[in-house]
Subunit: 393 residues, 2 copies
């Protein structure tokens, strides 16, 4: 009788290449891994946390250790409201929900909205684990055509008409995996499509604080708040271990999400919420962000320089305004997946681009994603040189 | 297009009486609330947490703030293995998974095992939120007959034959809501039934450390580990805000659970896991447990005394060997749900027993649950006196 859920078997059995890459990286500390998207350990505020914990316990007392409200710790909800208003999103404190990471929020929304056989529209390419998640909830995932500014509004309009999706999942800012950012004009046109169809759009905005150049663009949600669920997180700009996701969404959806949350994990840790509130409301935040931006911008410059130096003229790559990812496109006959074992032998890891396509990316085998966040800056050149060796056989 | 998941609508719209009770309690600090099951705030180790955080960061460094392994922080997995072996469960460290609370583990197991229309067997009565959870995953929940020692093995055998359930959910120790504990002999016979049917059994064991009298009984899982998922938590014996659930289960199920966990919340907070490891491995643990046991035992004694003094001879109640709940049964014509508004008027809250029956408990309206954990000991007599007034109209 101990048997796997029938409907999940297909998803669960595909463990995928990421685990293997991580396992390989863990076994070989000399490997230059552009595969993982974790923050640079050197930037985690390890010196501050004990102090923040003490301050949080001073401020909230036993409430920081007790069960809490499903919606979130009120102090953190209020600070989050202010954070979102900096991004152009105006909402009430009661419209904010503190989730267990942005991934926790996304899972919860899936649980609230997806019925088996529903369609979810995503960008082409898109965040791979999101596709796995949507499929694990029984959805059919369909990619919508994009250009260097993100999703094409006409293509989105057409796909919505054709597929009547449950929702559209978008990452307009410092997109994972391509690094691109949707312009304000493109956001406005995309918002029009969303409004016209009264379509739920999920805006995944976890990299927004990591801008290295260019002007800030208001969140897509600010253009059409009545139909957007906005997800952001403190994992990239403070620490993943807090597991703090910050989200706002239309009230009817939020109510369902909160009821379901009681059965998922009851509430997000009151303790890490109280810690997060001390950080967001405290004096360190601005300086810490500045440190992150300078540090990652320097790595991106080094990576872009190394790509220019080592990779052949038949390769192209993005140099994003922010975020943690560079997207590389080789000549049509280049196969990033086929070359990966040789790359690992040469001491460099990356994720093949096909991993990021809802349709499997069979015709996009010539792409790959480089994540520079956790690679020590001094290793970048060596890693790219190794990559170049296997890319020019 | 923003619409509620069709299959969840029935579950989501029943917000239930608990939220209203909690809301009422929050508005009226003078209310004696036997309704909530949260730990006594006075027992939360608020003085220790900042020190534990500092020690955890000393020991684990940046790893305590970074993404971690899906299975859990290895140090906490190893301490958890030792904890479970104290309860008669022998397993390898790799068989331990650290979940986001025991509720997080239960949700994850549901996601891994339940298909729409599956049957889940539960005790009669049982933990109400678990029933809601199972239903939200599309299951039909059926209660199995119990006596004062827990589930009746013959009734369980019969129900398994009849309903071919996906799993059986049991709380053998200090059962919520009745407080009863399954004897070792009953566990052995229940384990036989489970083994004979190769049935997955979930043992929910979150109160086990709160034993006030009587000898410890090995976990049901120790009798039949190959078919049991064992869930325990640090919410009752350390702090709910850690959101630390500790679980072991058969490897095939564990593998599915870990793959799904990546889509639920990626991993449980490395920081609260590191804190929990400092607590479990540190010198405070034994004294803290002793303090909890003495404090709650005194409250239970006070409650039992007050019930004897105030309640009429046609009421019966349990005096459990541990845990946080007393189960009260009135005469057949007593209606705990109908009387609740009057009880609130008199300044006392409780949960009507019908809330704990999978079939709605229409014929068990004469029962109610008293949770004594968070009621100040000096308020217990006043609360029971108020209860008695509405129970003897």
């Amino acid at each position: 009788m101990i048997e796997r859920k029938r409907s999940h078997a297909a998803v669960i059995t595909r463990s995928g290449p990421i685990d293997e890459l991580f396992a390989a990286a863990a076994r070989r500390p000399e490997l230059v891994s552009f595969a993982a998207g974790a923050p640079d350990p050197a930037l985690l505020p390890v010196e501050s946390i004990a102090g923040l914990a003490a301050a949080a316990l001073d401020r909230h007392g036993r409430a920081a250790l007790q069960y809490g409200l499903t919606g979130g710790l009120p102090a953190l909800q209020e600070l989050s409201r202010k954070l979102l208003s900096e991004r152009g999103i105006d909402c009430a404190t009661g419209d904010i929900h503190i989730a267990t990471g942005a991934s926790g929020a996304l899972h919860n929304i899936c649980l609230a909205t997806l019925d088996r056989g529903d369609v979810v529209l995503v960008e082409t390419p898109t965040h791979g684990p999101a596709v796995t998640l949507f499929r694990s909830h029984g959805a059919t995932v369909i990619g919508v055509e994009c250009d260097e500014s993100g999703v094409l509004p006409e293509a989105l309009d057409d796909a919505i008409r054709r597929h009547l999706p449950a929702f559209v999942y978008l990452m307009p800012t410092f997109h994972n995996p391509t690094g691109r950012t949707m312009s304000a004009e493109r956001r406005a046109r995309t918002a029009e499509v969303i409004r016209r169809h009264r379509m739920l759009a999920i805006e995944d905005d976890v990299y927004v604080e990591l801008r290295y150049r260019g002007a800030e663009v208001p969140a897509l949600t600010s253009f059409v708040p009545e139909f957007c669920a906005y997800l952001t997180s403190l994992s990239k700009c403070v620490a993943p271990a807090l597991r703090i996701g910050i989200t706002t969404m239309p009230q009817p959806l939020l109510r369902d999400v909160l009821v379901l949350k009681q059965g998922i994990d009851m509430q997000t840790s009151s303790l890490t919420q109280a810690l997060a509130a001390e950080f967001l409301g405290g004096p360190e935040r601005a300086a810490h962000r500045q440190r992150l931006v300078e540090h990652y911008a320097a790595k991106l410059d080094r990576l872009a320089g190394a790509l220019g130096e080592h990779l052949g003229p038949d390769f192209r790559w993005t140099v994003p305004d922010g975020g943690l990812f560079v997207w590389v496109e080789g000549p049509p006959d280049f196969d990033a997946g086929a070359v990966l074992p040789a790359a690992l032998d040469h001491g460099v890891a990356y994720l093949p681009g096909s991993h990021f396509y809802a349709d499997g990316g069979a015709d996009r085998g010539n792409t790959l994603r480089l994540s520079f966040s956790a690679v020590p800056i001094g290793d970048i050149d060596r890693g790219v040189a190794a990559l170049a060796r296997v890319c020019r056989p």
